[in-house]
Each structure stands twice: as structure tokens, then as C-alpha cells.
């Protein structure tokens, strides 16, 4: 992409519009957002705010390239390059996700037979970190998140919701990614573990990571977020 991000933002979204067309329901149109625009800078945490159904999750998924876009641009700074998620090739987007843009989803997508420790270590191994070292880092992170050590060697399929979410957070945060997208990272956690996640997010911010997320938990949002973007205004335009 030739367009560079003006200034120092890590993420620059502008004129973003999206409407789902449901072909199985006689082509019903489901507008999500129209003309959405905002920026995220390194070291800040920005929350997407607004009631359920306002399009927060959809917006986050568009930034990650999981949902497609009808109009507008999603510029992400990738080293010396600027990539438009809305217009780049699938292969370039896969590379962007591998190096620059991380995503902590709400639920862990369980992979059969893979242990919690390996699930967490995988992104680091993908970065080229030696296996032993990656697994050690994964263990330290799981310990910080209070996941009992007896669970580490087990596949997370049978874990509780809170345990799975901690594995998911560890996987999403273990490697350095300059841009992090987080969808309700603390939804099923108890108070103690919420504090741990707050600490992890603060660490990321200090490391210069830009974070865009959905934080329903007001306590967490008030502590970690620097700004809230009201998604309702984008939805109303749609």
C-alpha cells in the first residue's frame, strides 16, 4: 500500500462501512457501521464503547480482517510499511497477523490434543524462539495467571470457562505485537485474575503496544483505558 499513516498512529481507521447481506433471508441487509473513523497510538489503550449490538465486536473483527469491509480503509503500521487491511492480499494479511497484529478473542478455539502449555507457546515458536525457551515463558505466564501447574500438560478442552480464558489471554499476550485487539479479555475471570490481566495490559502499554478492545467490565476499563470511542455514532449513521 502506498498510503502511509500520517503522524505516529499504529492504527488509522477511516470511512469504514459494512453491511451484512443475508442471502438466505431474501437478501436482507444488516447495516453494522457507516463512516467509522478513529486512531490508536502506541502505548495507549482505546476502548470501543456502546450498548450490545452497536457493532463493537464487528468493528474489532474488521480491523483484524476477519470480517470484510464494504468501504473505507484500515491502515496498520508494519515496520516501515503501511498495510491497508481492507485492501491487502490474503497472504500479506496473514503475515501482518503473524508479526504485528495480535487478537485476544473472547473464547479459546480448542485444538484437539494440544496441551495448554503448547497452545500458549505456539506464537513464540512461530516467531522463531527455541522451543524450550518458548515453553518456559509460557509456563511463567500461566503461573502469573494462577493456572494450576497440574493443568499445563492437558489440552484445555475440559477446562472451565475461566481457565480457558486465561490460556487464551496467555496465548494472545505471550509474543510482542505492536497492535493488540482484545474482545472482553476479563469476561469470565474472578477478581484476583482480573487484577493479573490489568497488570499484563499495563505491561504491554509500557512496552509501547497500542491496544484496541472491548471491555464491558467497568473496573478494568477505568484502570487500563485511556479513551473510549462511542461506536453508537457510527451505527446511527448506518
Amino acid at each position: 500500500m502506498s498510503t502511509a499513516i500520517p503522524g505516529t498512529a499504529i492504527l488509522d481507521v477511516s470511512g469504514l462501512s459494512k453491511t451484512f447481506i443475508l442471502h438466505l433471508r431474501e437478501g436482507a441487509r444488516l447495516p453494522v457501521v457507516a463512516g467509522a473513523g478513529f486512531e490508536v497510538f502506541p502505548g495507549e489503550c482505546v476502548a470501543l464503547g456502546g450498548p450490545s449490538g452497536a457493532g463493537k465486536s464487528s468493528l474489532l473483527k474488521m480491523v483484524y480482517g476477519n470480517y470484510r469491509v464494504d468501504a473505507g480503509s484500515i491502515l496498520v503500521r508494519d515496520g516501515d510499511e503501511t498495510i491497508d487491511v481492507a485492501g491487502t492480499t490474503p497472504r500479506r494479511l496473514i503475515r501482518l497477523r503473524a508479526t504485528t497484529m495480535g487478537y485476544v478473542s473472547q473464547f479459546l478455539r480448542v485444538i484437539p490434543r494440544v496441551s495448554a502449555l503448547d497452545v500458549v507457546a505456539e506464537p513464540l515458536i512461530g516467531d522463531g524462539v527455541p522451543r524450550d525457551e518458548a515453553v518456559k515463558t509460557a509456563g511463567a505466564l500461566l503461573a502469573r495467571l494462577n493456572l494450576p501447574e497440574r493443568l499445563w500438560a492437558l489440552p484445555p478442552a475440559t477446562f472451565s470457562g475461566g481457565e480457558q480464558q486465561r490460556v487464551n489471554i496467555a496465548r494472545g499476550l505471550i509474543a510482542h505485537r505492536p497492535l493488540l485487539l482484545m474482545d472482553e479479555p476479563t469476561a469470565s475471570l474472578d477478581a484476583a485474575n482480573r487484577q493479573v490481566v490489568i497488570g499484563l495490559i499495563e505491561d504491554k502499554k509500557r512496552a509501547g503496544v497500542g491496544i484496541l478492545g472491548i471491555f464491558h467490565d467497568a473496573e478494568v476499563r477505568d484502570v487500563v483505558c485511556d479513551r473510549v470511542i462511542d461506536v453508537t455514532s457510527f451505527a446511527q449513521a448506518a
Binding site: 473483527k61 470484510r68 497472504r91 494479511l93
Partner: protein, 260 residues
């Protein structure tokens, strides 16, 4: 541009007619080293015909397939001699078939099935061949003491794992897979999928996998191609096509399964 950014295989305008019936119509795609591409669609959509064309088992009515050899040369496969193409299939390519009887020699021992591919590439030392075969049986989780049994004594899942060992022992760069988990019990499928996923990542294989199972595509592939009536109707990153399908037919496919 590093060689990694250059396609390993390129198909341009591939078509195949069976008399008046169309198997495949004007399909173009590219696969890069280390990339897993899933081809999905229902029975009769042309996905198996496409796999046959890409692997040169079928001759196209129109279009061509090019492949980058280990020396970096991009070659039109139609211009290669039969012997050269056979060598390519035995060394640089693998083909894992849905029906293991079609991909294995059923009256030859498990060790022989794996060793045969090595002999085809010039291995002669019996002890070394057996040692390598043993190593590969271990990697696909077949007990060492089954090495002299023939696959007729194996379960469906074991046969499929043996077929994978036979294909991967020569360290190919590209593997074609045609419904590799089709017809297996769900628990057996999960084990096989995990094995394929691990080996593909460890070896950096490029894979073109044909499947009607969207969960298999989700677990294994980076990119997806959706086929209907012999045409490619939608392509993209796998999670994008599955989570935000655009075409009416893809929406129907995705909505017809439980949580793919």
C-alpha cells in the same frame, strides 16, 4: 523478493470437460511454500477434478499448471516428460487419498510401504531404509512392532496414518490431500487432523487439501477456495470466508453445519 514469496505452484485458466459435462471451469490459483490451501464445495462441485488437474493425474481441456523445481526453475508441467513427472511425484510431491487402499500397497508390509518411496529415490541400504521407516512409523504413531504387518491388518485410522508416513518420508514440498479424514470416526479424525497439522507445520509443507468438511478447512488451512459447478466462486483467508461469507452459496454451506 525471497524464494519464499514466490509461488510453488501456479494454475492458470484450468478447465476440464467430460464430454458435454463440465468438471472444472477456468480455475486460476497459486500456492506458496509452507501454505495450506483448502478447496471446499459439495460433491460434484469439481474440487476433486481440480485436484486431479493440479497433480497432473488428469489432462486439462484448457489452461496450464506450472511448478517451481528445487533449482528455482518454474516449469509448465505439460512440457515435462513422463519420466520426469513421475520422479517429481515420487520425491517432491505427496498425494494422500481418501481411500488408503488407493494410496497404499495393501499386500506389502507397513515398513515396505514407507521404504518403497525411499528406494524410488535411490536409497539402497536395507538397514538404513528400515531405520528411516521405523522412525516415520513412530512419527505417525504406529507401534514399532507393527512394521512387518501389512496394512490389511490395520484399522482405517492406522492405514491413513501409514499413508501419510509413506508420502512424507521423502520430505516433499507439496502434498495433495483428497478428503484425508473422510469416512473415519470423529475421534479418529481428530487424532489424524492433529497429526497432519503438526507435521505440516514442522516440515513447512505446502498442502492443497480438498474437503467438504469446513471444520477440517478451519483447523488446517490458511486460505480457502470455494467451488460450485466447476468454478471458484469465493476465495480468501480461511477465517474470513467462514465467518463472513459473501456469496449466497458459501453462506448456505457455512450455515448448514454446526459451529465450523
Amino acid at each position: 523478493m525471497s524464494t519464499h514469496d514466490q509461488p510453488l505452484l501456479i494454475a492458470e485458466g484450468l478447465s476440464k470437460n467430460y464430454g458435454a459435462r463440465i468438471g472444472c471451469r477456468d480455475v486460476s490459483l497459486a500456492v506458496h511454500p509452507g501454505e495450506v490451501l483448502a478447496v471446499v464445495g459439495e460433491s460434484g462441485s469439481g474440487k476433486s477434478t481440480l485436484l486431479g488437474l493440479l497433480s497432473t493425474e488428469l489432462a486439462p481441456t484448457a489452461g496450464r499448471v506450472s511448478y517451481r523445481l528445487r533449482d528455482g526453475d518454474m516449469r509448465d508441467l505439460a512440457t515435462m516428460g513422463a519420466a520426469e513427472r513421475r520422479l517429481l511425484m515420487r520425491t517432491d510431491w505427496g498425494f494422500v487419498r481418501q481411500n488408503p487402499e488407493a494410496g497404499l500397497r495393501m499386500a506389502v508390509s507397513a515398513g515396505g510401504n514407507v521404504g518403497e518411496r525411499l528406494m524410488a529415490v535411490g536409497w539402497r541400504h536395507y538397514g538404513k531404509i528400515r531405520e528411516e521407516a521405523l522412525d516415520w512409523l513412530g512419527r505417525v504413531e504406529i507401534e514399532a512392532d507393527r512394521i512387518d504387518d501389512d496394512p490389511r491388518a490395520f484399522s482405517g485410522g492406522m492405514r491413513q496414518r501409514l499413508q501419510i508416513a509413506r508420502n512424507l518420508v521423502t520430505r516433499p514440498r507439496l502434498v495433495f490431500m483428497d478428503e484425508p479424514t473422510g469416512g473415519l470416526d470423529v475421534s479418529v479424525q481428530a487424532r489424524l487432523l492433529d497429526l497432519i497439522r503438526t507435521l505440516v507445520a514442522e516440515m513447512g509443507l505446502a498442502v492443497i487439501i480438498v474437503t467438504h468438511d469446513l471444520a477440517v478447512a478451519r483447523l488446517l488451512s490458511h486460505r480457502m477456495v470455494v467451488m460450485r459447478h466447476g468454478r471458484v466462486i469465493e476465495t480468501g483467508i480461511t477465517d474470513q470466508v467462514l465467518d463472513d461469507p459473501r456469496e449466497p452459496y458459501t453462506q448456505l454451506l457455512v450455515s448448514s453445519v454446526l459451529a465450523a
